[in-house]
Symmetry: C2
Subunit: 317 residues, 2 copies
């Protein structure tokens, strides 16, 4: 089956990583009528036995039975593989994807950060790579149990022309499940726009141990967020995808209007999971440095986060 | 009495602020034979009654009786007024000094930070201003009780030629009390050299909640210290007093060789006192910004410290 002949509802999906993100979108795709294969790790037996629960303002779901696999299982090929693992797992991502990717398989990368699409395209020249940038507040609250709190938009951006052609079907499948969707023509622009929010608010929420509303309410917190965002803007410009005038003030306004929000890095920190510093901070810094530009405040924040992360995971509970 | 006619032992001192710093140096000046008048705040009655204790590797001292005043008392003029208050008190420093400063009084500023000597000279044109940069680890452990832990060097630097002439007598008086002394010809250079250590290690010890050895032991901690120090170096250069080649590596080596050390800002933080961010960070940033240069990582650290400080002092105990 290729996307040319399929209706969107006919697309099949494999969700690599049934966590807060993969579990939520997989659930919505099931609701929309797609066939969905989940790959889970610690809770694969639980989900096989008890199914997958997703509590959500879009309606609570209990999918049971559900097609779930361990990554060591023989897994049928799907049209689309959604990468729902944290970027902290990226050292083993290619190996995990290898049995899941055939000729023309669409790899939909739902991760944060920069440069992973390029790596995937290099590792899988037979595949088509599309990024799905997720604006989602969701949490895994127990085995096979996801709590979706708010938001959910997926913004699709293709790595190349082959990906661009397949985005309408992806949008239809997600949309059928009640997920808001949009598409952006330029992947680097989409990634850097997302970093404009992620770099300040993820890092500061960890360093300051607060949610976004507290950062926005304090003049120094806001100044710091703006300083970091301005460096992201310089990074975007350096990489050839400058922000529109008005983009950053608008982003600050949106953040101001948000309810108290815990960015994913804060949730990771509180759960003592490894922080996504490499792909959210160090890769963007490296891309910019390769072009001869430094982003010193982001560098400092990345180093502080590294130290916080190390202490956090070595601390006794 | 003027310095021209006095022996160093004949110099009289008023110590404004009988804390970890003023209490220690006042004690050493007493030991060296100088007349010393202490101004204390919360513990003036205690010191009047019980005297002043200073525990020190140089020998424990119990000065009793001791000449101690509240700042509202009538206080005889001394030849030298030592400013031993934290810079967080600088908004009232001129007012506190006014009754203590006569024609030719030497104001010896023992504070950290930048630009206060210039302010003092402007407020007291009849006085002579000298900076005494203190390399000291000392702590106030109770009313009238100081614990000197290590170090103690005072590096004297004059604001102008009048100050330069009086430094030898100051050095003699401190030296007579067993304090190591040196002099530096350029006040801005001396101040920036001290900031090269203070800016990285004071700030990081608070943000990371560790002593210097832990910063030095971690590659990211060390990289962060070096990044901040390199920005201080740019600041010094911008202000016309570039560091010698080799200065920064030497400073890192010295810090490496130090025993675990809690910088004063860490002690302030642990005691929930206001942090010296204004004079140690914001004033240097402002001096550099006036010359068109920004130090972004130091800016970010200053803002983080402001947020840490606010939270620290508003926290319930």
């Amino acid at each position: 089956m290729t996307s040319d002949t399929a209706n969107s509802q006919d697309l099949s999906f494999t969700i690599l990583g049934t966590g807060a993100l993969g579990g939520f979108y997989g659930s919505r795709l099931l609701v929309g009528g797609s066939r969905v294969r989940f790959i889970a790790h610690s809770d694969v037996d639980f989900i096989r036995r008890e199914g997958l629960r997703v509590d959500s303002p879009l309606g609570d779901q209990h999918h049971h039975p559900v097609e779930v696999y361990a990554d060591s299982d023989e897994i049928p090929l799907s049209d689309v593989v959604c990468v729902g693992l944290k970027t902290t797992q990226n050292h083993r991502l290619v190996e995990l994807l290898r049995p899941l990717v055939g000729e023309g398989t669409l790899i939909l990368n739902l991760q944060n950060g920069l440069t992973m699409e390029e790596e995937l395209a290099e590792a899988f020249p037979q595949a088509v790579v599309v990024a799905g940038l997720c604006f989602l507040c969701s949490n895994k609250v127990g085995p096979g149990h996801i709590a979706h709190l708010d938001y959910g938009l997926v913004s699709f951006a293709p790595l190349d022309a082959r990906g661009r052609e397949r985005i309408p079907d992806l949008m239809a499948a997600f949309s059928a499940g009640g997920v808001k969707v949009e598409s952006q023509p330029s992947l680097p622009q989409a990634r850097w726009r997302k970093l404009a929010w992620n770099i300040p608010f993820n890092g500061l929420s960890v360093l300051l141990d607060v949610e976004t509303n507290r950062i926005m309410a304090d003049p120094d917190g806001r100044a710091l967020a703006e300083q970091l965002m301005a460096e992201v803007s310089l990074g975007a410009e350096t990489c050839g995808v400058p922000f529109d005038e008005g983009f950053m003030p608008r982003l600050m306004e949106i953040t101001e209007a948000m309810t108290p929000y815990a960015p994913s890095m804060r949730l990771d920190y509180l759960a003592r999971r490894e922080l996504e510093i490499e792909f959210m901070y160090r890769r963007p810094l490296r891309e910019v440095a390769r072009r001869g530009v430094r982003l010193p405040a982001i560098e400092a924040v990345a180093r502080l986060l590294t130290l916080f992360d190390r202490r956090n995971r070595s601390a006794e509970t």
